[in-house]
């Protein structure tokens, strides 16, 4: 399994290497203090918080619905799923029914968002490993998704399209045709990506057997998403805690038991394929009807704790709200996937070579504002 020896035998002389906060491999402003023994990482200490914005406090001092735009700015690459979790928790607490058309459109847009997020990861990950070209290919396709979603929502990244009880507005004209065309075009592109990269021997040497993160470590640290699925456990919030119309849809949870960087890579590639399947099914079944349910003018949640989780591109995103029956939240807690995913880095990076550490960090698919909130 291991291609490289993980323990060096050299003299016990270490030095501190500072990675970040301004470093392209950290995908944002994240600092890692590495204690190096030659090329090997002895100790990695994460220094986070450079883009901390205290979203949780903001949730406590404004009406329920006005916090919604904030949730799209936590993980700027999967805003759809994040706003979904927040409107979902309010709908769950108040017992608001969402019309089926709105639910289907939510799933379509969420899955498009997932593909665009995975494309950014794909390009950036390979950039970390030294491949410049894939990024250009990835952004080419991502641009099409962004155009489709921009026409629909008016935003290219930080969408705020979902509303409590439904959607801001119905689909624009030509949306269904555009998405169908995208799906048709993207399938062969995905195949080409695999031919270009997945079987490339240089790439495989960099990721196969590198950065092992097994299921037990994921469990102890609460790592979710492609991390846990790349460790062989088919945990997907869309299946484990079914929400929206996912139970009616036919898709597979991508799993790979190898638990290395390659496994996480394969899981994400497969997820894009599955997202396309989901989108196609939703387009076929898209019902007519209103996109907004009956929602009281002034939102008031009953007393108590409510949770709602969605499967974001990086794993489980969960909103936990505590209500005291007032028009503002008593407490909003945002459980973000990257927080749990990164917290195991300190342990998992120990003994890796620096370049492999970077490869592993790339396979975690970090979005720093998601950790710092």
């Amino acid at each position: 399994m291991e291609l490289y020896p993980v323990q060096s035998t050299g003299p016990q002389e270490t030095f501190v290497l500072n990675l970040g906060p301004q470093h392209p491999a950290t995908h944002g402003v994240l600092r890692v203090k590495l204690t190096m023994d030659g090329e090997f990482i002895n100790e990695a200490v994460i220094v986070a918080g450079y883009v901390h914005r205290e979203h949780e406090k903001m949730g406590e001092n404004r009406p329920w619905d006005q916090f919604l735009p904030n949730t799209g700015r936590i993980d700027y690459l999967s805003a759809m799923m994040y706003t979904h979790a927040y409107v979902g928790v309010i709908e769950r607490a108040c017992g608001i029914e969402v019309p089926p058309r709105a639910e289907y459109i939510r799933v379509i847009t969420s899955e498009l968002n997932r593909i665009s997020s995975h494309l950014v990861w794909w390009g950036a990950f390979l950039l970390d490993l030294g491949g410049m070209t894939p990024l250009l290919y990835a952004f080419d396709d991502r641009e099409k998704i962004l155009d489709i979603l921009e026409a629909l929502t008016g935003a290219r990244l930080t969408y705020c399209y979902y509303r409590v009880g439904g959607l801001a507005e119905d689909l624009n004209e030509g949306f269904v045709e555009d998405v169908r065309e995208f799906v048709k075009e993207f399938r062969p592109r995905l195949k080409m990506f695999r031919r270009l990269v997945s079987e490339n021997i240089i790439f495989r040497k960099r990721v196969e057997g590198i950065g092992i993160i097994d299921a037990e470590m994921c469990r102890k640290y609460g790592a979710t998403g492609p991390m846990i699925r790349g460790a062989g456990i088919p945990y997907d919030v869309r299946r484990a805690e079914p929400y929206s119309v996912y139970p009616e849809l036919d898709f597979d949870v991508a799993v790979d038991p190898a638990a290395d960087s390659m496994a996480r890579y394969k899981v994400r590639m497969e997820e894009m394929e599955q997202s396309l399947r989901i989108i196609e099914q939703c387009l076929d079944r898209l019902p007519d009807g209103p996109v907004m349910g009956k929602v009281p003018r002034k939102l008031k949640l009953p007393e108590g704790d409510f949770c709602y989780a969605t499967e974001a591109a990086r794993g489980r995103f969960e909103v936990r709200v505590v209500s005291t029956g007032k028009p503002v939240a008593h407490r909003v807690r945002l459980r973000t996937p990257c927080f749990g995913n990164l917290s195991l880095f300190e342990e998992a990076a120990r003994g890796l070579m620096l370049a492999d550490g970077i490869a592993m960090m790339g396979s975690l698919d970090l979005v720093i504002p998601d950790i710092d909130r």
Binding site: A48, G49, H52, E54, E56, K57, E60, V89, R92, G95, A215, C218, R219, K220, Y221, G222, A223, I228, I233, Y235, R239, A240, E241, E303, G304, D305, F306, C307, Y308, A309, R316, E318, R320, V322, H330, R331, R333, R335, F339, G340, S343, L344, E347, D372, R373
Partner: protein, 188 residues
């Protein structure tokens, strides 16, 4: 219907026999009443929730809600670790009227999809609770975050430094009585 398996519910009830008899969250009756008396009419006290109950997932988003004593939290975590649960998150809720912090520990199960929520309350003037970092290493970061935002001390924590806030930040932002510092540039 709750998705909580029966054996887990029974294990929780067996492990904490005191939970059934003791009132889980008694507010400081004397001190709290005096403060409230001159502000407004005291609201009728809600009936205390049962300490360990199955909940309906579709309504609240978790399957088991267990209220434990602060000293039982490690025991509860060990039980859940034993059952194969993963740590989901740790957080706190400030209840200034009751003079308490509520600590909320969420756990999830990767195979069964079950979610368990364990809560405990600690006094606001002595916010201390044992760390879970040695049972779930992932608790380390969650506790650091809770500590810096609420000023709660996790005794035995291996690395009790700020995680997200700057090292020299003063105050605990998520406490209800937190006043944000004014702009340093505007200070006289």
């Amino acid at each position: 219907m709750s998705r909580c398996p029966d054996h887990l519910f029974e294990r929780f009830q067996e492990l904490f026999p005191t939970m059934d008899t003791e009132n889980p969250a008694p507010p400081e009756a004397s001190a709290g009443a005096e403060n409230e008396a001159d502000t407004a009419e005291p609201p009728p006290p809600p009936p205390p929730p049962p300490p360990c109950r199955k909940t309906e997932f579709a309504k609240v988003g978790y399957d088991l809600d267990a209220i434990v004593e602060p000293h039982q939290i490690e025991e509860a975590a060990k039980l859940l670790d034993d059952e194969g649960f993963a740590i989901d998150m740790i957080t706190a809720v400030d209840w200034p009227d009751a003079e308490q912090f509520e600590l909320v520990y969420d756990f999830m199960h990767f195979e069964a999809g079950t979610r368990v929520c364990v809560r405990t309350r600690i006094p606001r003037d002595r916010p201390e609770i044992a760390t879970l970092s040695f049972i779930f290493p992932g608790a380390n970061w969650h506790e650091r975050e809770t500590a810096e935002f609420f000023g709660i001390q996790f005794t035995g924590h291996p690395n009790p430094i700020h995680l997200l806030l700057p090292d020299d930040f003063e105050g605990y932002p998520l406490r209800k009585d937190f006043k944000p510092p004014s702009d340093p540039l505007l200070k006289p």
